[in-house]
């Protein structure tokens, strides 16, 4: 007997229910491959420094496809989402706050 007190977030763990369709898996693969081609293409398009942003946007899209379909976030319970969310949140802090120092250092002060 198992007791989950976040059971309302807990999807019943039935293997047969969580089998992917082959088509879906392959479709995701194609999407990500397109992303790779786009990434390489961008770097030939002389965007200069803004290429960085475009690259990162493409990568984020690719990775969210991987996470949502291949890592089965689409079938995950809210606890898994919470874990992913908190990791992303700390990542955000880790980038935003040091950069708030680096990008304003030359300004001196008011």
């Amino acid at each position: 007997m198992a007791f989950y007190f976040d059971h309302k977030h807990q999807k019943l763990d039935d293997p047969a229910a969580s089998v992917d369709k082959p088509g879906a898996i392959i479709a995701v693969w194609f999407v990500i491959l397109l992303g790779v081609i786009a990434t390489i293409g961008v770097s030939f398009a002389h965007l200069g420094d803004s290429a960085l942003i475009v690259h990162m946007l493409i990568s984020v899209v690719q990775v969210s496809f991987v996470g949502y379909y291949w890592m089965h976030l689409n079938k995950a319970d809210s606890l898994t989402w919470l874990t992913v969310g908190s990791a992303m949140f700390i990542m955000l802090i880790l980038f935003a706050m040091p950069l708030s120092d680096y990008l304003t250092r030359f300004l001196g002060g008011m």
Binding site: A16, V19, D20, V42, S43, V66
Partner: protein, 245 residues
């Protein structure tokens, strides 16, 4: 339930609780991994903002073709391991074993290309941990006919273009640290996959006991995802005019 008795470890109430725990544990571990790479990504970002010119120049020394091939290999391996889960869920042992084997081999292929690339960097004197950094003789890109022998060194070319060699060195050390750590993860992943293959071979993975495959695939997908960020950051930091082999 009887089929589950074996898989059920003594301290869990039932197989479902155990699956939940193992899956959650892997996700937590992945969160840790993300932060682990996050630190070095931050360091990279800071210097890329400070030294865009130098890092573009350094990045254009790297082998984009190999990087592209590696990306495809890794993506395909992620594809196959996703199919492996499916096979496990459907209890198709043969397919499971084959898919796992393919996944592992694709990973191994990735590492082979990586080794080739490291070796190439070493021969071009682009390894920052070696004395010969930037000192190898290379053809001067300015004189179009490559008739006469290599005359100049990277250091000279960088000096001429007003690029500080120690910043190139900084980039290259980031390149080796990042790809090195990532490669280490790949090797661990390959090990895990072949252990899974062994368990599949022994028939310990069945339709209701596939969580091992699932958590391993989660790990493998994360390694893949990190590569999707590394590739543009390291190999495509500068705008390319021609593929450099």
């Amino acid at each position: 339930m009887s089929a589950n008795e074996g898989a059920l470890k003594h301290h869990f109430e039932d197989i479902e609780q155990q699956r939940g725990a193992e899956r959650l544990g892997m996700w937590m571990f992945l969160a840790t991994e993300v932060l682990f790479f996050g630190g070095v990504f931050l360091a990279y970002t800071v210097y890329r903002i400070w030294y865009p010119k130098d890092w573009a120049a350094a990045s254009s020394q790297l082998n984009v073709l190999v990087a592209g091939i590696n990306t495809v290999l890794l993506l395909t391996s992620s594809l196959t391991i996703t199919f492996a889960i499916r096979a496990a869920q459907l209890g198709n042992r043969k397919a499971l074993m084959n898919l796992l084997a393919i996944t592992g081999l694709l990973g191994a292929g990735f590492m082979c290309f990586k080794a080739y690339e490291y070796n190439q960097d070493y021969e071009e004197g682009l390894v920052p941990f070696c004395k010969n950094f930037g000192e190898e003789l290379v053809h001067d890109p300015d004189d179009k006919d490559h008739s006469h022998a290599a005359t100049t060194t990277f250091n000279q070319q960088w000096e001429k273009k007003g690029i500080a060699p120690q910043r190139i060195r900084l980039f290259m050390s980031f390149y080796f640290i990042m790809t090195g750590i990532h490669g280490l993860h790949i090797i661990i992943g390959i090990g895990a996959i072949f252990y899974l293959w062994y368990r599949a071979y022994m028939g310990w993975i069945t339709a209701d006991r596939y969580v091992g495959v699932e958590v391993t695939s989660l790990y493998w997908h994360l390694v893949d995802a990190i590569w999707l960020f590394l590739m543009p950051l390291l190999y495509l930091a500068g705008s390319h005019h021609s593929l450099h082999f």
